[in-house]
Amino acid sequence: MSVTVRISDDALALACGADAVAAAFAQAGCTVERVSSWGMHWLEPLAEIDGQGFGPLTPADVAAVLAGTSALGIGRIEAHPFIARQQRFTFVRAGKTRPLSLDDYAATGGWAGLARARDLGGEATIAEVTQSGLRGRGGAGFPAGIKWTTVAKAADPRKYIVCNADEGDSATFADRMVMEGDPFMLIEGMAIAGLAVGAQQGYVYIRSEYPHAIAKMQAAARLAAAIIAPFSVEVRVGAGAYVCGEETSLLNSLEGKRGEVRAKPPLPALEGLFGKPTVVNNVLTLAAVPWILAHGASRYAAVGFGRSRGTMPIQIAGNVRHGGLFEVGFGITLGELVMDIGGGTASGRPVRAVQVGGPLGAYHTPEEFHLAFDYETFAAADGLIGHAGLSVFDDTADMSALARFAMSFCAAESCGKCTPCRIGSTRGVEVLDRIRARSGRQVDAVETLPQMHNARKAARSLTDDIGLLEDLCETMKFGSLCALGGFTPYPVLSALRNFPEDFGLPAPAQEAAE
């Protein structure tokens, strides 16, 4: 009997060379099974033989692994501290099943949630989701049960379930891993949502940068069609617009329009896709639902911290030694995530900053490592957890350059609908360029014209420019229609607040942290 080797076919494993390693094992006479990824990214390509892990492998390592002489063994994968410390609800099958095998899915508890929802009926299903305390995992943290109730109560024969899989934030990949590793779970979650609110049609809007996720979801939707009927799921592909991760802009994009943000109200729950009542939920929100239905709301709600119930798949990325997917109950501290689990920086240098929540999240310092991972705690610390991505930077990071990047990213990705975001981001880049050059700004020819009564007649110093930047951020924060313009000030102002020395200001006194 030949040896069975399990290797992930997740996009990250492929990018690290998993196909070549799999081919080498097959050539050596092994049976190769392509499974989902365990989420220990620094070990990819990771091979599993009888529960034992070996990684990161190249084809040249295969002979030694099979001969039992490889130094790349990590022992039993499930006993590895990175896995053993997790509480996996959404990623319970990660590393264990073949993503597109209906048999594997059914054998590991798949479809149990949908079966229970069918027994319970719509109203009781929503009650279960509400009791679980599940909040939107896309970033805003809005209670899923309340959103579903609004859609369920809307009197319209046509309703939609839209899954937001436009995961554009840097340092996030949990949505991608769900779609590539356990696509049926997401489809089951959407079918449960459809049953709960009375919708027949679901759309998964996936960003075009995820070709592997698109292919897997399309295949999974075909394979599961009979099981979820009369509900049906269709995959739609984005076109490279970050702003389409905002729910109303995503709806416009699905309708075939420019991905411009809509003003709210009306809420998408009442007038969403094609003007019909629509549930728009993130991948992780919908993917949490089958577990909640199968195991009961109280077991889910028993985990967590404060008003953040259940688990969060946290994505540890950037300059970090042990990057990957770490699902755990809310309440773990930032320092545990970065230092204990992530193992500090990959470069071996001290951590300087951690951006939490993607390009719209704040830059935190090691002095804030005591912060508990929870929506409210981070909001109180002038930050956000967003989609729970951590991007770690070592002490070579130039924080004013990163602040400038935040503004230029906003300028590149702004939909253009509202002025603070469209114009403010470009002005922000200009002000930050002046701050970085420490140049100040002279009065220009137009400002000196006699007609320009209100224009400032004096030159601007560095301090004036920083005041201007703070003003601009204030305007963007409170004047923008959506989170793109509204949250871009978070990385900018947190960098300025926590690392003033990078902006030409005196460094803060060391006790400022508490």
């Binding site: 990250l12 990018a15 620094w42 996030t172 984005g238 076109a239 490279g240 970050y242 991505g389 991007s391």
Partner: protein, 155 residues
């Protein structure tokens, strides 16, 4: 074939072959909800870009104005109105890849004229950057040598 398309683009009308392809794609999407993005994706997949000449046909098929079609094409980074002249390497320049040194990597490529290095914001491989995508193939843990090898491979 690519040569012909490049020439066609400079003329005001597209060739019969391109027209037929566009008609075929439009017919395949008839009756779908919100079909414009899928149509544009299919045209771009078939031709490598969305020719100007396709706009009137799309507008007529969907009963929207040409301005609306143009507005959508120009809004999304993915849609190109001219064929690519050089092989494209999409290099992620987002925060996590910056933290892993993509800017130094990119700075070493300024003289590159045989390929076009396009910026992409996030390929979702943020723990193993710097990352790049060529077509649908992903490459992780790039350093100068690996990226140069990729350039040699596609150029």
């Amino acid at each position: 074939m690519l040569q012909t398309m490049a020439i066609n683009r400079t003329m005001t009308t597209t060739s019969a072959a391109i027209d037929a392809e566009i008609d075929r794609i439009l017919a395949a999407h008839a009756g779908r909800e919100g079909p414009l993005l899928p149509i544009l994706h299919d045209i771009q997949a078939a031709l490598g870009y969305v020719p100007e000449g396709a706009i009137p046909a799309i507008a007529e098929a969907l009963n929207i104005s040409r301005a609306e079609v143009h507005g959508v094409i120009s809004f999304y980074h993915d849609f190109h109105t001219a064929p690519a002249t050089r092989p494209v390497i999409k290099l992620c320049r987002a925060e996590s890849c910056q933290a892993r040194g993509v800017e130094a990597l990119a700075a070493g490529l300024v003289d590159e004229t045989r390929v076009s290095i396009e910026t992409v914001y996030c390929l979702g491989l943020c723990s193993v950057g710097p990352n790049a995508m060529i077509g649908e193939t992903l490459h992780a843990r790039l350093d100068t040598a690996k990226l140069s090898a990729l350039v040699e491979q596609v150029a």
